[in-house]
């Protein structure tokens, strides 16, 4: 039951983009087409889960015992950067079409605050390893959900008659804001 609440909280109540406002640049940047959004979402799920698990180990076995918590941010960034490099190589070899469609956004995950944010939240909430795994994966799916929903809306908006000055990113941001408001309805359902 606890895990279920954790998942619901991560996906809907504390959605990483819509409630925590992390990872906005890839959120706007890769939400123009649903297919790209799904690819990017899956990449984030994968990277965030891996990153959170590895950083959990780093925190628990290296930083905490040596009283080096202040190294958390820099160490996590190092880990995430290496991990993304690895994912990049892996995708290039195994799923080249996905690698191509992600293009510049894959290396951008390195500097994606959502991934770093998830890893840090897990530490701040003092999750166990299993909880970290579940939470990070759910948060990744939360990101993916927001991304896919926005992409679908933007695909429809592309065909609509909107003022020229509003086309593209401006309307994307407004839509993101409205979605964020909608997700606020979940507030208080879980902490």
């Amino acid at each position: 039951m606890d895990y279920f609440v954790l998942i619901i909280a991560a996906i809907f109540v504390n959605n990483i983009v819509l409630a925590q406002y992390l990872g906005n640049c890839p959120f706007i940047g890769t939400s123009k087409e649903s297919s790209v959004a799904i690819g990017m979402g899956l990449a984030v799920v994968f990277v965030a889960t891996m990153a959170a698990c590895i950083t959990w180990c780093v925190q628990q076995f290296m930083l905490a015992p040596n009283d080096l918590d202040y190294l958390q941010t820099i160490a996590f960034i190092l880990v995430i950067a290496a991990l993304v490099q690895f994912v990049e190589m892996f995708l290039k070899k195994v799923i080249p079409p996905l690698y191509k469609s992600l293009g510049i956004f894959l290396p951008l995950i390195t500097t994606n605050c959502a991934v770093l944010g998830i890893a840090i939240i897990c530490q701040r909430e003092e999750f166990s390893f299993i909880e970290t795994l579940v939470f990070s994966m759910a948060s990744g799916f939360g990101f993916m959900l927001a991304l896919v929903v926005l992409a679908s809306i933007r695909e429809r908006l592309d065909l609509a008659r909107v003022p020229v000055s509003m086309k593209g990113t401006p309307l994307g941001l407004i839509m993101a804001g409205l979605m964020s408001l909608a997700f606020f309805a979940f507030k208080g359902m879980a902490s």
Binding site: L68, V79, A82, F90, K93, S165
Partner: protein, 701 residues
């Protein structure tokens, strides 16, 4: 503490490095080694000017075929050569492209945007999507100027951009920021292949010209004294400015906006002036052609359509061969248009120039007899253009039509063109009211005959050009309007002596909108004559398309012309294209030249892409909102008139060219009358009533 921190970070780094090193071995993906090679010869500035994210991206683009050897915008020829060497490309075949500004509407945008804050074309475009008057033209704020990293573009005195071809690298920076598509990166081939689109900046004259010549552009070039540039502009659309400058009935002038103020601009006179300027200089201007690709195309018919198709095919890199049934090329231009309108020496000079580009010619070969579509294919021709014109004459279907001394106008003109005896008598009756009829009448006058023209409607309905009708009148041709031939009377030897005709009156309008002539009973009269020329219309002679079993693989239309897709000119046989009178029925020379280019374009697309195609928004009709009739703030300026080279008495006995060219002064005056129309805007110039002086023309410094 510090040691521990360093150790921990170092440890994490080392572990990551080891894992990545192993992974890079295991997950290694083969990459084309040429990418690295190309990257190593690029300039390495990572400027992104090429449109790729840095030099690595550009190298990848070259290898993927998305960019050519000239990808690097700052590398110059040296880098391009190296890239070409790595990729095995022929560097010489790389066509030079530059930014091309195609909005000549002048300074009007400034008047519309007073707001000083957002001085950026894109902002203006987003806020208002452009000026209220011209939804397509240049906004004039010069965002393209700031976008050019090479200083190749500047705002000209008229408020629209001017490109320096020397500095332009065709990087496309300006094209990307222009919200109006006023700037395009073009090369010669793309310009030749472009058909007018509704969103192009199309002045009325340009919309109406069947050859789609960029009229405002060449007029502007002439006004600057850039005659060579003007000819280049004209030759992007038609190969025969000398002939067209003489014989075109200039439909463009009919819609010229200036016509709402005083008289239309003498567009065709300006064209004739620059064409004559080149011929009189004795030097031919170089005409750029793509390097020969070795692919052969047969052009059947050496008239205007065939010559135009061959010319553009050659410029697009093909090796065309023209097959002509007559002893010389030129078609109706040579055998239908008399010497006094288009001297043969001028036509020869022009045709020589076209052939000089590398067009082969085989004369006195009849299609369907000496060669066929099959034999052409066997000889290695990959596509065929059929443009044999419309040479078959319609008959009057009256009694006595086969009498001696009755001939068709075209037969007579052909004899005159060939220089053989015409057998013309002293009293000639010409039946018909079109341009060929007038040519027949005026040629007969020159051969010493008394000529009467018989036409069944009134003068106002005559299809011939008004200048021609008046010219014939001056040369003593008599007109008999509202008269239709009833029968032709011959003597006992079978030679024509009289034409019996009946008087007509105009009745109700028919399908063509013209009032139908109806005979007045009992009004028959006789007119004495010894020669009758009929000229009541022509159609293509399509029997050559049928084989001995009477079967035809091509399609014939209701109007007895060759059927083809109206836009691509492709016939029922995919590699056979048509154009000119054979496709349209008798039409203008400029229409045939225009169709020749269209066909060359389609043939190129067919041979390279498999299917010819046109854009969905090509311009067919006049664009209504550009056809306003109110043209305020333009002063009266008198139109120049073409001077007569020889006077009337001399005109009646020699075939010397009648009309002479404008003088330099007059041409300046005429170009200065042009309003530089953009899509809807035009240049307002001076206080009402002010007379134009060529030397103080504000737009032509």
């Amino acid at each position: 503490m510090i040691t521990a921190s360093v150790l921990v970070l170092f440890g994490i780094g080392l572990t990551a490095a080891v894992i990545l090193a192993v992974a890079s071995k295991v997950l290694y993906v083969y990459e084309d080694p040429r990418i690295a090679q190309v990257e190593s010869v690029l300039a390495g500035a990572n400027c992104g000017g090429c449109g790729f994210p840095g030099c690595a991206g550009a190298a990848q683009g070259v290898v993927d075929g998305k960019a050519g050897a000239t990808v690097c915008v700052i590398g110059g020829d040296e880098v391009a050569k190296n890239v070409a060497a790595i990729m095995g490309l022929d560097f010489s075949s790389v066509e030079k492209k530059i930014a091309f500004v195609d909005c000549t509407g002048g300074t009007r945008a400034e008047e519309i945007y007073e707001y000083q804050g957002v001085k950026d074309c894109r902002a203006q475009h987003m806020l208002y999507s452009g000026s209220k008057m011209c939804p397509e033209g240049c906004l004039g704020y010069g965002t393209c100027v700031t976008a050019c990293q090479f200083g190749a573009i500047a705002m000209g005195p008229d408020g629209y951009p001017v490109v320096d071809p020397e500095l332009c690298t065709a990087c496309g920076g300006c094209e990307q920021v222009c919200p109006r598509g006023v700037i395009t990166i073009w090369g010669m081939t793309a310009r030749i292949k472009h058909l007018n689109e509704n969103t192009d900046c199309l002045a009325p004259c340009r919309q109406r010209c069947p050859g789609q010549i960029n009229i405002p552009r060449y007029i502007e070039q002439v006004s600057r004294g850039d005659f060579a540039g003007a000819l280049e502009t004209i030759r992007e659309r038609i190969p025969m400015p000398l002939s067209i400058g003489r014989v075109c009935p200039h439909p463009c002038e009919g819609v010229c906006r200036r016509g709402h103020v005083d008289e239309s601009v003498g567009i065709n006179m300006i064209k004739r002036f620059v064409a004559d300027w080149e011929m009189n200089s004795g030097q031919r201007l170089p005409i750029s052609c793509a390097p020969e690709n070795g692919r052969r195309v047969a052009v059947v018919g050496g008239g205007p359509a065939g010559l135009s198709c061959a010319f553009f095919l050659r410029r697009l890199g093909y090796s065309p061969t023209i097959f002509e049934s007559m002893p010389k090329l030129g078609g109706q231009l040579r055998y239908g248009i008399p010497e006094y309108r288009l001297p043969k020496s001028v036509l020869d000079w022009e045709i020589e120039g076209i052939l000089g580009l590398g067009v082969d010619v085989v004369t006195e070969q009849l299609f369907g007899k000496d060669f066929t579509l099959d034999s052409l294919a066997e000889d290695g021709f990959e596509a065929v253009f059929l443009g044999i014109g419309a040479w078959m004459n319609m008959t009057l279907r009256i009694e006595g039509e086969d009498s001696i001394g009755v001939e068709t106008g075209t037969e007579f003109l052909t004899k005159v063109g060939l220089g053989v005896d015409t057998g013309i008598g002293k009293r000639v009756v010409v039946i018909g009211g079109g341009n060929t009829a007038i040519d027949t009448a005026r040629s007969s006058v020159r051969l010493g005959a008394h000529v009467t023209m018989m036409y069944r409607r009134t003068r106002d309905e005559m299809p011939a050009h008004i200048e021609e009708i008046e010219g014939a009148e001056e040369e003593s041709v008599k007109y008999l309007y509202l008269a239709a031939p009833n029968r032709i009377i011959a003597d006992e030897s079978g030679h024509v002596t009289h034409v019996e005709y009946i008087q007509m009156q105009l009745g109700e309008p028919d399908d063509s909108g013209r009032r139908r002539p109806v005979p007045i009973e009992g009004s028959e009269s006789l007119i004495e004559c010894d020669t009758v020329y009929t000229s009541i219309g022509q159609k293509p002679e399509l029997s050559c398309l049928y084989d001995e079993n009477g079967a035809c693989t091509l399609e014939e239309t209701r109007w007895r012309t060759l059927g083809a897709d109206p836009e691509t000119l492709q016939t029922a046989i995919p590699n056979v294209f048509t154009g000119g009178d054979m496709h349209t029925g008798p039409a203008l020379v400029i229409t045939a030249l225009g169709e020749g280019r269209k066909a060359a374009r389609s043939i190129d697309q067919y041979l390279t892409e498999g299917v010819p195609h046109v854009s969905s928004n090509i311009q067919r009709e006049l664009i209504p909102y550009t056809m306003f009739t109110d043209v305020p703030d333009v002063g009266y300026r008198k139109r120049s008139a073409l001077p007569h080279q020889i006077e009337c008495d001399e005109r009646m006995c020699t075939f010397k060219e009648i009309e002479g060219p404008l003088s330099l002064e007059e041409v300046k005056h005429e170009t200065c009358r042009c309003l530089r129309c953009g899509l809807t805007c035009y240049n307002r110039d001076m206080v009402e009533g002010q007379e134009c002086q060529a030397e103080d023309c504000i737009k032509n410094p």
